[in-house]
Amino acid sequence: MAREKDSAGGGLLQGTLDLLVLRVLVAGAFHGYAISRRLAELSEDWLSVDEGSLYPCLYRMEKKGWIRAEAGRSENNRKARFYSLTNSGAAQLEIEQEGWQQFQRAVSRILKKA
């Protein structure tokens, strides 16, 4: 999924890339490279999503109708594909966020009580 920065981690749990990408796209339409950079910035360079994982993820989400892709021009006037969130994508984000929080709470409980 993603390159590990060190032995402590940096890899993504299965399925969380969809959640992260959907969350990034709430801020607006971005091209793939910008999404990748934004993920790295927000995670303080802890997560580095390469395009080998990112583009299949974007393609799948587009097929599911969660995001839409539109051709446009990047900041340096190059042709690029901009991805933006759809209504069903926003709904999916809610579901994914809820699922993640449940998972997080469950793990936290185990760590505290075990």
């Binding site: 091209h31 793939g32 490279y33 990748s36 390469d50 395009e51 080998g52 994982s53 583009y55 299949p56 393609y59 799948r60 990047s74 340096n76 190059r78 042709k79 690029a80 594909r81």
Partner: protein, 360 residues
């Protein structure tokens, strides 16, 4: 078939899209490195190093089924081989490919069609004397002058300085011209050949050869479709292998002989040497085919002729004498096991569970 074409188009679009995205990703990363002060070349190298070059693209393509294996899966899913359009499409594509690769495609088409493509070329004739080894050696000056006075011929000229070319007068048949030429010159070795046929023989492939290649293609497709399911599986397999090998070797030979005939050899000796080299290369190709066929046969179950799959490796590679590594392969029907060790390979039938109990 339409669905298959749509799937193919989607597959191609996916590849193009991922390639574009990958390139965009690389360019943007290189721009960032350039902004940090790296030279253009170093920035490109650094971007490729950081993003994993084409490896990531391949991974992405594999994940989405955009690689060649994905295309094969698509073909199987859409049962392309069961479509009635499959065989004609393959034949048309194979013919187009052969014509594309052919050094003289026009001559090849005319040779197959049996007449010149241009109407103006239909009366053109080639006249020359045929030697005992069936090669055309040209005509003498006296014979050439005799041809000029023939009533059935017009525009009699020299062709390649030693032969002659002419145009048949409208209404005169080819047989009449042939008999006129022999009677007038008194030379029984003079031959009158339609010009397109002469060019088809010299420049393009011989008609019979291409027809045989086409027959082999059809035979291979028919036997390939049979999939060795019935009692004639060995016959089908033999036919498929024979047709495929004939097809490959004859196509190689046809192209080689065309190239050989197009080269202007300085002497007969060099031409002969070239021919010998070509023949040896051809024999090499045939030997390679035989090797591939033997290898393929060894990897098939002797009972059902299906490929031996489901491999299991046993033994220790380091322990060469006491516990040598071996690979066992079994066909999908469980007929038997091909055991390949470092020393030998042999086929033994799979023992049934009952037999194993008895022997145990």
């Amino acid at each position: 078939m339409c669905r298959a074409i749509d799937a193919l188009r989607e597959w191609m679009q996916l590849r193009a899209r991922l390639r574009d995205e990958h390139q965009f990703h690389l360019d943007r990363a290189a721009e960032e490195f350039r902004a940090l002060g790296l030279s253009s070349r170093a920035a490109n190298q650094a971007a490729r190093g950081r993003l994993g070059s084409r490896k990531n693209l391949k991974l992405a393509l594999r994940e989405l089924g955009g690689d060649w294996a994905g295309l094969l899966r698509l073909a199987l899913e859409h049962r392309v081989d069961a479509s009635p359009w499959f065989q004609p499409a393959v034949l048309i594509m194979a013919t187009m490919l052969m014509l594309f690769l052919c050094p003289a495609p026009r001559a090849a088409i005319e040779g197959i069609a049996g007449q010149p493509l241009a109407v103006a070329d239909r009366g053109a004739l080639f006249i020359s004397q045929q030697a005992r080894n069936l090669t055309y050696v040209g005509i003498t000056k006296a014979d050439f002058e005799s041809l000029q006075s023939l009533s059935g011929l017009a525009n009699v000229e020299r062709y390649l300085s030693i032969h002659a070319q002419a145009r048949a007068v409208k209404g005169t048949t080819f047989a009449a011209i042939d008999s006129q030429v022999r009677a007038k010159t008194g030379n029984p070795r003079l031959r009158v050949v339609p010009m397109f046929e002469r060019q088809a023989i010299v420049m393009g492939p011989a008609k019979a050869l291409w027809e045989f290649i086409a027959c082999c293609s059809v035979g291979f497709l028919i036997s390939f479709r049979a999939k060795f399911k019935d009692v004639y599986r060995w016959f089908s397999y033999g036919l498929a292998v024979g047709c495929l090998h004939s097809l490959a070797s004859l196509t190689v030979w046809a192209f080689a002989i065309q190239l050989w005939s197009r080269i202007t050899w300085s002497t007969d000796g060099t031409a002969l040497l070239g021919f010998l080299v070509m023949s040896m290369a051809y024999l090499g190709v045939v030997a390679l085919q035989c090797h591939l066929w033997r290898h393929d046969l060894r990897r098939r179950c002797p009972l059902c002729l299906d490929s031996l799959l489901l491999t299991v490796t046993e033994g220790t590679p380091d322990c060469f004498l006491l516990d040598p590594a071996s690979t066992e392969s079994i066909c999908a029907h469980g007929h038997g096991v091909l055991v390949e060790t470092r020393w030998s390979s042999r086929f033994r039938p799979q023992q049934s569970f009952l037999q194993l109990l008895v022997h145990g």
